[in-house]
């Protein structure tokens, strides 16, 4: 094979060498200006004609011009285009500069092909390493993405250390399905599960109005990825760009590329970050006075008050300063043939709550090897070991979570441990100080991610390039959940209590993927490039979750054997997807760009696992100035574009089963039905997205503006329909509705000042989305939250999927509930719009970067306020800002409205403006080096400025984690924090 191919290459060069009766012939080499490496496949066109060629394997080209002189245009993906006048047969060697314009960014256009933004018909977002990690230090990758690009709502679920984010691309894409995008890191399909820790046994959060066990504030597993390793993140926001990823792309696709070595001498980079973590805000306590103390706590409380003995437990718990430290070592380098990048990160953080924190060690080795001139292979290996102590927050029905109990903890109580370290029982049902000091709720992860890419350049000549690319990826991890709620806790002293709880969770996840693609690029002599790719992909996933719950602990033992009662729960799921892809990309003389493609998919998650579903895509973009249409001389780029694509979301794993649950009676094991009737005919949800817009470059693309409008329709919406209970079942999964999102995204980037030692670039993104249930074939229903009286989502034809409704009092029903269904619309979780503003200023060796993020509108269901009001401990209880008549104080007003039947007091605007990141750095070149070595010092902050009118710690919050529609319900969360860091970094 090897010899044969080599023979072919040599043969091909001769074969395609031809001579016609041309006036002049120009030949030469095209190289990179900075590295002096040859550029293979660069395009050389004769301006004003359809004649063109591409550089060969050695970067060489030869082209004949029809006249005696002309202009050659050299272009290559990611580089600035260069024009050269020629007037005789000659040798013309050129060097091309890497482009700084965002239009020359290389973005993904298929499973195995890329395109420059200049030529793309999709609005693909790209976030670079600089924006991700070089301004501020980030705890997790999703945190680093917050507010960075248009079209997404990225939200942290709480301030607990170790992550926990939801990412929604272009609105809600499902009612019951997981909204999260697919993450692909160097070709490896990652698992992003959220595994419940089992603390529900203690909190009994699922025992009340909502049976979801997602209430225990678990992190999602993308948190394991080390942001320091990342070179760039590309975001395909909807089916029009992501169709080629088929059945898993309904939530969008996030493509992560890690840093790789470059040829040249070894480079070492060492950095250390240290800093502090503080709550972004504290709420304070109610304005206690003799009157309200006595009314709430009676004469004993008044005595404590008069003696000046009130305690501030919020301050005890949250007014702390955590520390964080990140150490990073990168070694990279290589030769023409072999390149390497080794990265190691060690991160250690303490949360603002005692006994919480996050510790992570990540090692990465990326290797690239050119085995022969037609075969190269790239390897990525990443090992991560992390430990997150999450604390014990969010909803509960046993008054034991720290947040919940704090609401009912009164300042006249004495909760402090005595000299022997023994805590008194708290009046709230638990003692918050004891819980924080005694309880463990830990996640440990060991994760290995490995990816292999092999490229076979099967054939190449001036007109053709045939490549076979195969990729294989593996992502495997073990997650250990440890919950220790010792028998010594005051709330476990009662013999009828659980008497101590141990949780030992063990989750193993294996995801593998393989793909093979054949890519044939053909450069026609008329300057048209055809890129044909075809291939197949297979993705496998297995998840096995075991949870051992021990209650009735013997002494202070932390082995689950040492308990009176031990229960085991195992949940397994797996899937296999097969995808077949074919795609054709046509570049007509850099004037018109057309892509047509289709993916066919099978998934074991579908009712019929062997049925093929087809997902087409098509898009086209026109470069108007190249076509001779330019409205003004200052417009350097004007590219209208339109793109269409489809993708799907498979039904949940169990949707097609009538699973029988185990039971036991007398001496016999048995099986009995669950409440959900399996649907053997269940179909995936199908997403169809049309996006169109234009990119405009002004003043040599110094200012680039992009406008994109999209219409995203999700058909065959997967819904849980209530069925006749006399069937013996209560619900069934059905395909019964259509959801539509429409939105607008505007991006603008400008290089305001570009001077040798002073530059300022700025960018603004603005985006909005509106959803509507356009068709619903089941009765309207409420979902998410706890109960209509506490605010819920309501899925109703003709209404936004994110509308928030609640009960309404008889007095207000006529006004607030005109349709008479018993629910008033009190808000909408969808933001009115979001916006960011990014700046990067460089002056000599100084740099200043900052990013503002503004979310306007979008409501939350704030049940923390409810709990504090019921307890009479709300910070604003005695203010009089709410009652229109001014008669009632806020606390009384809210509860009286609620008792009258209105859910309105708990639905609140969750707008904010934040300074997401700011960093100031000074670089010191090291004189002893060749000029590349330097030392850099800096200071940075995240969430330094937070402006919001929301009545709690942070409008970014979710009691139910990230995976669900209702990810904006607040119940006494872990408060969010801001961080201030100092950086020192050495490169040599």
């Amino acid at each position: 094979m090897k010899h044969f191919l080599r023979f072919c290459f040599i043969g091909a060069f001769f074969l395609f060498t031809y001579s016609l009766s041309a006036q002049i012939t120009v030949s030469g080499t095209v190289k990179d200006a900075s590295t002096n490496e040859t550029l293979i496949g660069a395009t050389v066109l004769v301006k004003g004609t359809a004649l063109g060629t591409v550089t060969d394997i050695n970067g060489k080209y030869s082209i004949e011009l029809p006249g005696s002189s002309g202009t050659l245009v050299y272009s290559f993906i990611g580089y600035e285009t260069l024009s050269k006048d020629v007037s005789s047969s000659s040798t013309m060697d050129v060097v091309l500069n890497l482009s700084s314009s965002s239009l020359d960014e290389v973005i993904v256009n298929g499973f195995a092909t890329t395109v420059t933004r200049r030529n793309s018909a999709n609005a693909v977002a790209r976030v670079s390493a600089k924006e991700l990690t070089e301004v501020v230090n980030q705890q997790t990758m999703e945190g680093a993405l917050q507010g960075q690009f248009a079209g997404a709502e990225i939200k942290s679920a709480s301030g607990a250390p170790g992550g926990g984010f939801s990412v929604k691309m272009r609105g809600v894409t499902s009612v019951f399905g997981n909204q999260q995008p697919l993450y692909i890191l160097d070709g490896v399909f990652l698992n992003n599960s959220t595994i419940s820790s089992g603390v529900n046994t203690v909190s009994e959060a699922a025992g009340g109005g909502n049976t979801s066990t997602n209430q225990d504030d678990a992190s999602n597993r993308i948190a394991d990825i080390d942001p320091e390793d990342i070179e760039s993140v590309e975001v395909l926001k909807g089916a029009s760009a992501a169709a080629i990823y088929g059945s898993r792309a309904a939530g969008g696709v996030v493509i992560i590329t890690t840093k790789r070595g470059k040829a040249g001498k070894a480079r070492v980079s060492l950095s250390q970050t240290i800093g502090t973590i503080r709550p972004i805000s504290l709420l304070g306590t109610r304005d206690w006075n003799a009157e309200n103390v006595e009314a709430t706590g009676g004469p004993d409380a008044l005595a404590v008050f008069n003696a000046g003995g009130l305690n501030d437990y919020e301050s005890e718990l949250f007014d702390n300063t955590g520390t964080n430290s990140t150490s990073r070592l990168t070694i990279s380098g290589g030769t023409d043939k072999t390149k390497y990048m080794f990265g190691a990160t060690y991160k250690n953080e303490n949360g603002i709550v005692e006994n919480t924190g996050y510790e992570k060690a990540s090692f990465r080795l990326n290797l690239d090897q050119n085995v022969t001139d037609w075969f190269d292979v790239s390897l990525s290996m990443n090992y991560v070991d992390s430990e997150a102590d999450r604390g014990f927050f969010n909803n509960g029905n046993t008054n034991t979570t720290v947040g919940y109990a704090l609401a009912f903890t009164y300042p006249w109580e004495d909760l402090f441990a005595d000299a022997n370290g023994v805590y008194p029982a708290g009046g709230a049902g638990s003692n918050v100080l004891e819980t924080v000091n005694t309880v463990t709720n830990r996640e440990n992860v060991d994760r290995f991610i490995g990816g292999l890419t092999a490229n076979f350049n099967l054939f190449r000549n001036e007109k053709n390039n045939v490549k076979f690319q195969t990729r294989a990826g593996m992502d495997t991890y073990t997650l250990k959940n440890t919950g220790i709620f010792p028998q010594s806790l005051t709330f476990y002293q009662d013999p009828s209590s659980l008497r101590g709880v141990l949780l030992a969770g063990n989750t193993t996840s294996q995801n593998t993927n393989m793909q093979g693609f054949l890519i044939w690029s053909h450069y026609s002599s008329s300057g048209i490039t055809f890129t044909t790719s075809a291939g197949a992909s297979r993705e496998d996933g297995n998840l096995d979750n075991n949870l051992v719950t021990a209650t009735g602990l013997i002494g202070s033992q932390t082995n689950v054997d040492q308990a009176d009662n031990v229960g085991v729960n195992q949940t397994k799921s797996s899937f296999v997807n097969h995808g077949y892809v074919i795609q054709e990309e046509i570049n007509y003389q850099e004037k018109i760009f057309l892509t047509l493609g289709v993916r066919a998919d099978k998934s074991t998650n579908n009712g019929d696992s062997d049925e093929l579903f087809f997902y087409p895509k098509a898009n086209v973009a026109f470069n108007l100035p190249e076509l001779g249409i330019s409205p003004s001389g200052r417009v350097s780029t004007l590219k209208p574009r339109i793109a269409y694509g489809e993708s799907q979301r498979p039904p949940v794993f169990s949707a097609r089963f009538n699973t029988l649950n185990p039971t036991f009676i007398g001496q016999n094991s048995g099986v009995l039905t669950a409440g959900i009737l399996g649907n053997p005919d269940i179909l995936p949800e199908r997403q169809k997205e049309l996006e169109f817009g234009a990119d405009v470059g002004i003043n040599n693309d110094n200012i680039v503006v992009g406008i994109t409008y999209y219409i995203k329709t999700i058909e065959d919406l997967l819904l849980r329909d209530q069925i006749e209970p006399s069937s013996g079942f209560t619900t069934q999964w059905v395909n019964a509705g259509t959801l539509q999102n429409k939105g607008l995204e505007i991006t603008a980037d400008a290089g305001v000042i570009k001077k040798e030692n002073f530059s300022w670039s700025t960018g603004i993104n603005w985006w909005m989305n509106r959803s509507e249930i356009t068709e619903l074939n089941v009765d309207p229903f409420n979902t998410g939250g706890f109960a209509a009286s506490l605010g819920q989502f309501r899925i109703e034809e003709g209404k936004p999927a994110t509308q928030l409704v609640g009960t309404v009092s008889a007095d207000d029903a006529a006004e607030l509930d005109p349709d008479g269904d018993g629910f008033a619309v009190y808000g909408d979780a969808e933001p009115d719009f979001q916006m960011n503003w990014r700046n990067s200023i460089n002056y000599e060796n100084w740099s200043l970067d900052f990013l503002f993020h503004w979310k306007e509108g979008g409501d939350n269901i704030n049940l923390s306020t409810l709990l504090y009001d019921l307890a009479g401990t709300t910070w604003d209880y005695d203010d009089t800002t709410l009652d229109p008549s001014g008669a009632m104080v806020n606390g009384d007003y809210r509860t009286s409205e609620w008792f009258a039947g209105n859910a309105a007091p708990w639905i609140e605007d969750a707008s904010y403006i934040r300074l997401r990141q700011i960093g100031l750095y000074r670089k010191f070149p090291l004189s002893w080096s060749d000029g590349t070595a330097n030392l850099s010092l800096g200071i940075s902050a995240t969430n330094l400025i937070n402006i919001f009118d929301y009545n709690s710690y942070d409008p970014e919050v979710s009691n139910f984690g990230g995976n669900v529609l209702a990810n904006n319900v607040e119940v006494t969360p872990f408060p969010s924090s801001k961080r201030l860091n100092f950086h020192i970094k050495a490169n040599f």
């Binding site: 009676i665 016999n668 048995g670 099986v671």
Partner: protein
Amino acid sequence: MNKLHNNILIVFALVIGLSACELDPIADPNGPTAESFETGAELSDLQLLVAGLESVIRNDMEFHYETVSIVAREYYDLNNIDPRYTGELLGAQGAVLDNNGFLTTRSYSARHRSIRNGHILINAATNAEISEAQRNGYFGLAKTIQAFEMLLELNRQYENGIRLDTSDPFNLGPFSSNYQSGLTGIKALLDEANTNLGSAEFAFVSTLADSPAEFAQFNRALAARVATYQNDPAAAMSALNDSFLNLSGAMSDGVYHQFGLSGNDQPNPLFYIPTADVDRYMVHPSFFDDAEAGDTRVTNKTTDLGTTISADDLEGQFQISLYASNTDPVPLIRNEELILIYAEAAMMSDPTGAVNAINVVRNAAGLGDYTGGTDAQSLEDEILHQRRYSLLGEGHRWVDLRRFDRLNEIPLDRAGDTVHIQFPRPVAEG
């Protein structure tokens, strides 16, 4: 060049070929599915379904017994946790029952879930390679239990009727037109089961009865209960003859739900802890006022908390305590009820026999023989009185007063309280 192209094609075909294989469905790894029992079930599989059926009938049973007992004011739920127990359920200010609320739907869904499990067992037994006698054993057991569960829910739905044929979940049969036609359907199902049991062999272990003959006695006891509701004394008497009725036996003899505390087992949900704030199920004061002096049932079935518990303008000092622990069995039907069914069936045709039966129950409660009149009205009063005290909290009082058209005797403690005649049909039934 052709050769090269061929090579490319071969590589390409290899990749496509490797993954173009058929994608087989993945079986549910978290448990067996109903479909997996449909064909070729072994005896051990059928045993799992029998145990599952006998287990599932315990699910949410408290929602049946508590709701019908509270409507009859046998006891109140004064836990003050859910206001619906003292508002909606007691018809406060004329409140109607919510046809989508848990008071209506929890037990309704649970009873039908039991019936579904019965169908799964019947389907599995139909297609299993077993003897005819063994098959009859499964049929007899499943149908009897289905009839028991249907009767519980029919007593709540009353004139709304229930669906008698629910064998196909995608194509459910019609609702019986009223209470009596529902009873007719249940009687037919019990008779069918009794025929099956007549030529049956138990190839399984049941927690309800040890043999087909014993199970048939349980079946006939239920048939006697149904006949009583149908006001058919002759049929009741005939069924009693084949039941486990024993005038000289213990009151507690009967068929019971078993409970346990191990992993997948269930505790007795009707066991209430006297000290627990969340178990304030307080017996109605009239139960003490109306009792005969010395009736041991009054003290045996209640616990004095020593303090008056009140909520929502209702109060009680005595917690209902039918069960001594959370593993105490709960009767499906027992001898004491059969004796009183006997008395009621004999009331018109054999007043002496009726009085004899009444005296068995009275004596067991520490009371002397019956001294009242033997006219029909006096005996009806006495039998209803004995049923009230003998079967407290076992789901009878409301049904008994309703069939004698005496619901107006239910004591109302607050102005505006009313008595529901039946529960609404759940909204999800369409």
